[in-house]
Symmetry: C2
Subunit: 305 residues, 2 copies
């Protein structure tokens, strides 16, 4: 039976414009992307905060996937975190049009009593001091997986390193890996991150896939070359959701499970970018997901003789 | 029995400086890198040109690998093509310090009579009009593999497209693929290249590996994350050498052979960069090569259940 996951992260409304169109006030934030993906494999509970302007009815689809929203704090009179961005034509870069933190600015995660014993914790990208606070509230989780971003590396590196020291699996992108460690060479950077505590470091490289580095193994997973990218927002959180969900499903963290988790995370991320917001993540069927996973296998397999 | 390969390309003396040291007038040029790699798997004959200042005794190691140099023209009183470059500390960029074309400037490839029936032809990166001339001299090669560079895309695109139309397998890097086709999206660019004639397009992505695109299949191969890069010069030509050599060894061009060829090319390229010039390519033992190939398999393998 799958192990239960707790995710603490942002719960937001995104306004996103790409070459393929625009959405306004659509479901966004790391915790929602993460749980839409992770709930494909294991039960997920979200801890986050929204204002009472939040369209709660839009969460019905997440609930149907088995996501528990009991830990979603609703601040009376508060305004939900909103982010607006416009992607460049090549989908590589984007401009942030606005960031209205709203109730997220004073977010103090409170882990519900019954959720503190969840065995699997995903610390999505929030301020490291809050990540530490969450760790202190939990009762010895078996597996702690952590994400972060360049802002915290610049402004709260000491706290971030404390979080990393209490992390089993760190998920970062290539630039973050270099920025935290000061190592330009990606493999050296990943090894330096291992020396901070985690047993496993997963480096996301966008269109170039992911590299998983452990003390005695390396795994390189490609990204699926995509025909159509409608909206890249949330791909990293979706990857983390598929990754953590897969580990929770299997209930173990050996090399084979970790590799499968990277592939499942990559597959879900490849769906996520096919539509705005959580659109495709919520509509993908188990059969479509299975087909996509087989495409990843077909993409990389070879024999030496 | 392996099929015989003919390579036409540059044969040069390189002066290279990296963070790890410097070499002067060391063996370089696409045809030498290519043949050092390809000869691991199949007999190779080189067609190129040098001046009579060329240190022929330095070719002994290539001859020992079975490389035929009967087609290496030596121009009396001529000066060998020399290139000088300095790599940046991160090995990502480099500055060309000098390019002295010498006898290469007026190179007119003459394919020896006995070499015109070689079944496998590698057109290394030379002027497209010369590549066409070589194709005209050959007697219906079974397999034509072609490389090029940004200079010819800028200055001789029409001729280059004629070469590509007569090519079975095109090897380019990601920027060249985009530049030839005007397609920013890599998969779209590769598909556009297929429409120019080749059955197979291999896109080299440097540290991100390679993507092989055919009408009905995709193969993504990672690069081995390297601990030590001493000199990246020639890695692309070495890749091509391992790739073409592998196909010549197997004598067929089905999906399995092509994938193995990509891996063998990647493995030899990973050795090439461990030392200056052809140093490591000439010293690698069959056992070391076999171990490296198994590392590639270990790097990418996973199971879906």
């Amino acid at each position: 039976m799958a192990q239960e996951i707790l995710v603490v992260g942002s719960t937001a409304l995104d306004t996103v414009e790409t070459a393929h169109g625009k959405v306004e006030d659509a479901l966004g934030g790391s915790a929602f992307y993460f749980s839409a993906a992770a709930s494909r494999y294991a039960p997920v509970q979200v801890v986050g905060v929204v204002g009472d302007d939040f369209p709660l009815e839009q969460l019905a689809a997440l609930r149907q996937l088995g996501v528990s929203l009991d830990g979603l704090e609703i601040v009376p009179g508060g305004r939900t975190f909103r982010w607006g961005g416009r992607y460049h034509a090549d989908m590589m870069g984007r401009d942030t049009l606005f960031t209205e933190l709203g109730v997220f600015q004073t977010f103090q995660p409170r882990i519900p009593e019954q959720a503190r014993r969840r065995p699997v914790l995903f610390l999505a990208n929030i301020q490291p001091s809050l990540q530490l606070d969450v760790l202190d509230q939990m009762e010895s989780p078996l597996l702690v997986v952590t994400d972060t971003m360049n802002l915290w590396i610049d402004t709260a590196l000491a706290d971030l390193k404390r979080v990393i020291a209490r992390t089993h699996i760190l998920i970062v992108n290539d630039e973050e890996a270099r920025q935290i460690t000061g190592q330009r060479h990606l493999l050296a950077a990943a090894r330096a991150l291992l020396s901070l505590g985690p047993r496993t470091v997963v480096v996301k490289k966008g269109e170039h896939g992911a590299l998983m580095v452990r003390a005695d193994s390396l795994f390189a997973a490609p990204a699926l070359p995509l025909e159509l990218v409608v909206d890249p927002t949330g791909a990293g959180d979706t990857f983390a959701g598929g990754f953590v969900g897969s580990l929770a499903l299997e209930g173990r963290v050996d090399e084979g499970s970790l590799r499968r988790a990277v592939i499942r995370g990559s597959a879900l991320a490849s769906f996520s970018v096919e539509d705005f917001s959580l659109g495709r993540l919520l509509s993908v069927t188990p059969a479509e997901l299975e087909t996509r996973l087989r495409e990843f296998a077909a993409l990389t397999e070879f024999t030496l003789v």
